[in-house]
Symmetry: C2
Subunit: 192 residues, 2 copies
DNA sequence: CTGCTACTGACACGAGTGTGTCAGTAGCTT
DNA sequence: AAGCTACTGACACACTCGTGTCAGTAGCAG
């Protein structure tokens, strides 16, 4: 068995990477094995063999997307000392607003919404997991006394809400100046 | 022809209402005519007759959901004089956070995300339209000198981002106290 | 060469999809 | 009574879907 987590095997990660690119371009909503297989130069048979089922493939793709997401989050975390929510939010927004990340973020939005409507299956817990991922990393950015206690939790909840709300706006309107100005306005408010 | 907009006909609105309830409970993602028809006590044949196609049905359902959305927005608008963004945001959040509106808001999130990924077809422009709807009504809540000019636009963009970001969090975590506290924190910041 | 493991191709099955066709029936207007 | 319009039922067509089956082949270990 070369199914999932046990040593993904070269061919498997290669195909996953190709499938990931395909999904970034076409969305997950009406993903279908046959068109996907053709696009990545493979066959449904092989996809089934490597990922067990369509559900397995989708799970692997969502995990792949989450890896991309965690990669930037880790760059925030690795600072030697907490940089504070304001600076962290500013950096995260710069990443979110970059044009080249739109496909990933659209995919993220799709998976998030779907996991809300259909809490079972391959999508299960995706929304919840990403909220926790982000809140965790924002917590790590807060200085020590602020971080603990529920006031700190409220602060990072607000920071996350601004970032994600702004992201939704940006994805729909593509009006980067207006949305970025709104985020910066919020950061200015926080500074006092 | 009793197709769409030209006088919806009693039977049509009756079935649309039933289908809307069904979709609120089951989501739009894998909506299928036969199960839907059975659930609402009709047949695919009739649905096709009344709505022309599945796309037509979906369009009608999205329009129906938008009507629900616009209904609350109008209650804000009808105030004799502008109430300001702070008060408006507070009221809107009270509505968003109410438990009984979750199904509608989940449906909204689903439609929004899907219209981002698949900008053609029945979903076209849904995300864009709702952003504009909300920004318009928030603009109407702003006092006169503030409303015009791009600073006003930035202000309401931020207000909208907070509301929608908080909504995303709430839908995923169901942690109303934390999220409501974050929204109120933002309102407190705005007050100065 | 033998065997073993990883991988792949061709094909079929059964279920579910949206939609089209043909024939109705109920209720109203004239 | 006639006729028109709105609506409905039964059924079939042409797909596409995920998945299963059976037979392979390439590469490497012994």
């Amino acid at each position: 068995m070369s199914r999932r987590t046990p040593t993904p095997s070269a061919r498997q990660v290669e195909l996953l990477e190709a499938a990931y690119r395909y999904v970034l371009a076409h969305g997950l909503a009406d993903l279908s094995l046959r068109p996907l297989a053709e696009a990545v130069g493979s066959s449904t048979r092989v996809l089934m063999f490597l990922f067990g089922s369509k559900d397995g493939l989708v799970r692997a793709l969502l995990a792949r997307a989450r890896d991309d997401e965690l990669a930037i989050l880790d760059r925030l975390r690795q600072a030697d000392q907490p940089i504070g929510l304001v600076l962290a939010s500013g950096r995260v927004w710069a990443w979110l607003a970059a044009e080249e990340h739109r496909p990933l973020l659209r995919l993220w939005a799709e998976a998030y919404a779907r996991s809300l409507v259909e809490p079972d299956g391959a999508w299960a817990g995706f929304a919840r997991a990403t909220v926790d991922d982000w809140l965790d990393v924002l917590a790590a950015c807060q200085p020590r006394p602020e971080r603990d206690g529920q006031d700190g939790a409220v602060r990072r909840t607000l920071a996350l809400a601004v970032l994600r709300g702004a992201l939704l706006d940006l994805l729909a309107t593509d009006d980067e100046p207006r949305v970025t100005a709104a985020v910066h306005r919020h950061l200015a408010l926080l500074r006092g």
